[in-house]
Amino acid sequence: MKIAEWKALVSEQGCYEAISRMLEKIAKSMLNGYITVCRTEALKLAEEFDKGHLKGKIAGVPVAVKDNITTKGIRTTCASKMLENYVPVFDAHVVERLKAEGAIIIGKTNMDEFGMGTTTETSYFGVVRNPYDLKRVAGGSSGGSAAVLADNEAVLALGSDTGGSIRCPASFCGVYGLKPTYGLVSRYGLIPYANSLEQIGPMANSIEDLATLLEVIAGKDERDSTNSGKGFEFREEKIVKIGLIKNMTAEEKVMSKVYEVLNKFDYQELELPSLRYALASYYVIATSEASSNLARYDGVRYGHHLQQLSSWSDYCSKVRADGFGEEVKRRIMLGSYALSAGYYGKYYLRALKARTLIIEEFKKVFSRFDVLVSPTMPNLPFKIGEIKDPLTMYKMDVNTVPVNLAGLPAMSMPVGFVKGLPVGLQIIGNYFEENKILSFAKMVKEIS
């Protein structure tokens, strides 16, 4: 459902009725998209809307918020046992912005634990199922946000993207998702996994809605020292030079869908040789930052704890062993290894150098192109439990991670189905050129 359709529904039935019906749908859902449903709060706000007290750009619109974004007074778990009962005492900056525009936060969505994963299979609260095939994954880590949008269990959603975590589930669930330029949206209140790579971003069922939500959440915030201070306003722009990144590939049937779309335009093919380092560079940097960002979970000030207090090191080690899932432990250990004495130069420093090469290469290419495109994911959504090997799973991110390394904006838009499963097209833009990405997406939508 789109914002315009929701508003029409609300003028017919009233907000309270519309929200009640949505809550009923959520209660019956097979997708497991929500960890927490804000039933009481949502109905109260719906009443306020019907009385004329809720104002703003997205007043009365139900928004799903990924569960790694803090919401004051509402449990925020990061889909982990470690934060199972953590109730934040502050709202994330983006949540403040949503509330200022009258949004109704309808629930906190399921995700991979601490954002570490491509399928939501690492969630402590169970996997999110794909709305098009319940035996398949919804993608990750913002799988819950994508699934609830596809199933009319929300009209707008917030996700976060560290290595593809908005774009992958958007692709697998047939919805729109955008990772903004690094620094466009404040990370204050985003519980960190890899802070030099991640951004909160909008997810929606149309390009217009995506743009509206981005306008709401983007902007200056002094509490995030990596925030650029820039805002966002949607403006249609002319797109002429389109480049297909040849070395971002996918399985044959997915590629034919991509070509089906692209052949309606004038485009050029190009190769980015530095991309061969991207996956390794990403996983070294992300796991290194994760090992630092997750060091705060010690069972003392908040989060999971154990009954017996022993020595600090012992207690801490046992709380963490008990509170974290396997994938989180794996990444913390890999990151600690990559940063440890003797290995820092071999892994971490080299990964940062590879990052420079990738950034330089994109900069050169963007002097010749307006937007770059590729398939979002190398495969169609796979079956739950199908991929067991960590490295095979990591390789699913191969088309999405270069964007995070460079800090560029990128979106995934649905471009059709193969074997009944959604296919996504990734559109990458230059720094702060979200308008070009959205404009090209509109061009694609118009011809399909």
Partner: protein, 93 residues
């Protein structure tokens, strides 16, 4: 290439207690993954590392005192507290 001692060493650095079974599983995972990371050896030495994508540095705010969390709020999620303190395990062993 990755020894079981390496794995235990890293688990101590990361303050993560692991079982023998987990240690062996992680050892195998790390060997595979770190071997894949070996592609980074091909990155030329003379390239400058990128620490920040936006090249912002020294982002400061004015040195003026501001409202912070109330003590009650700060202690709200603590599993163990006493008066205005967090209660934790013994630091000195």
């Amino acid at each position: 290439m990755v020894s079981i001692e390496d794995v235990y060493h890293v688990s101590r650095l990361a303050r993560l207690f692991i079982t023998e079974e987990e240690a062996e599983k992680f050892r195998k995972d790390f060997e595979e993954i770190l071997s894949y990371f070996g592609i980074l050896d091909e990155v030329p030495e003379n390239v400058k590392p990128t620490f920040h994508v936006l090249e912002l540095s020294n982002v400061f705010r004015e040195d003026k005192a501001r409202e912070g969390l109330e003590q009650r709020e700060a202690l709200m999620n603590a599993p163990r507290k006493e008066e205005s303190y967090f209660v934790g395990p013994k630091v000195v062993e």
